[in-house]
Subunit: 203 residues, 2 copies
């Protein structure tokens, strides 16, 4: 079952069976959503004790819940709420890490409208507390993914507010970001990219 | 609206209106749930840039979602899922912090059955990554709350598994924990207790 937000922005929880596709070929990643890739990678990192990172559940506003006798509670009316934070956070080697994952079918730039004001503000608050924040940006058509530091995102975000361009060019993402390698296990080796980032910034 | 988990373990999101009670007296806290007190305190800490801590949404398994024309998506059938982590995490002064909040009406000890295996395992994984984990335990009848280090909880948890007692005596919680003062803003000054813990453990 795949259910999308109105507007199609955000894939919602899928039953585990739906995301446990075969690992037999790295080409199997084609068609796999970035969220599914990250869920698999986080499960691998957790099992191998490299990091503890979880996707936050999508918040819902409950309106009506039934409590049938001898059976579990059933939610009968509820609505999706906009999250007040990013989707992923956790702890890695003593660091608080916090990020959002975004996909685009564009080939040359990443549209800033994929980010929401509250996500950017949340990342700014976390950075101010000493957390490490970034976006994982995937160009699905190119099959390339990048770890892009929040500090760079803030610059583009502000420029756009001031009337500047509405997207980040791929060339800039290549320049300031860290390309994430694909593999078998984990599928998306984003902690390796994060290590480079931490090393470069002496965090 | 107040909705409880089957088994009555965990209060679910309440509309903001339900938790924004008057601040005119600290006695107003009586009858306020620990979750509501923490939500208010976290909002205050966020606004004053002292920490970024959020409660995670309760995960639900979606089964049926309607997409009415010209209206937002309505969840028509869904079920509560057991969370795989603790309820709260965030970043404070460069530290990853992670905790669960528990209440008891007992006066002399805190029953270990209030914790679930997955929560204890999650805290152990986070501690291993250099995070700071604890429980916030409130004795509602006594109107006293404590920050209780995960490292101590692990000891009692293991003892119980080995056939030991099924609750932590209040005297031990007073001994090894850090009492949390109540105030107007924030209502529950748990970061002050955390500062003492960080100082004592040279973190």
């Amino acid at each position: 079952m795949t259910i999308h937000y109105p507007g199609g922005q955000r894939p919602v929880h899928k039953p585990v069976a739906a995301i446990s596709t075969s690992h037999s070929s790295i080409y199997a990643r084609r068609g796999m959503s970035l969220e599914a890739e990250l869920n698999e990678s986080n499960a691998y990192y957790l099992a191998t004790k490299r990091a503890v990172v979880h996707k936050k559940p999508t918040p819902v506003q409950l309106v009506k819940v039934d409590y049938p006798k001898r059976s579990k509670a059933v939610i009968r009316e509820a609505y999706f709420r906009r999250p007040s934070t990013t989707d992923y956070n956790g702890v890695y080697h003593g660091h608080y890490i916090d990020f959002d994952a975004k996909e685009t079918r564009n080939k040359r730039s990443f549209p800033l409208k994929n980010f929401h004001q509250h996500q950017v503000l949340h990342m700014a608050s976390c950075v101010q507390q000493g957390g490490i924040c970034f976006a994982i940006i995937k160009f699905t058509t190119l099959d390339r993914a990048f770890l892009y530091p929040a500090s760079q995102l803030f610059v583009w975000w502000q420029q756009e507010r001031d009337g500047g361009r509405k997207s980040i060019p791929l060339t800039e993402i290549i320049n300031d970001g860290y390309e994430i390698e694909y593999g078998l296990n984990p599928r998306l080796k984003y902690l390796d990219a994060l290590d480079s980032f931490i090393h470069d910034h002496q965090l």
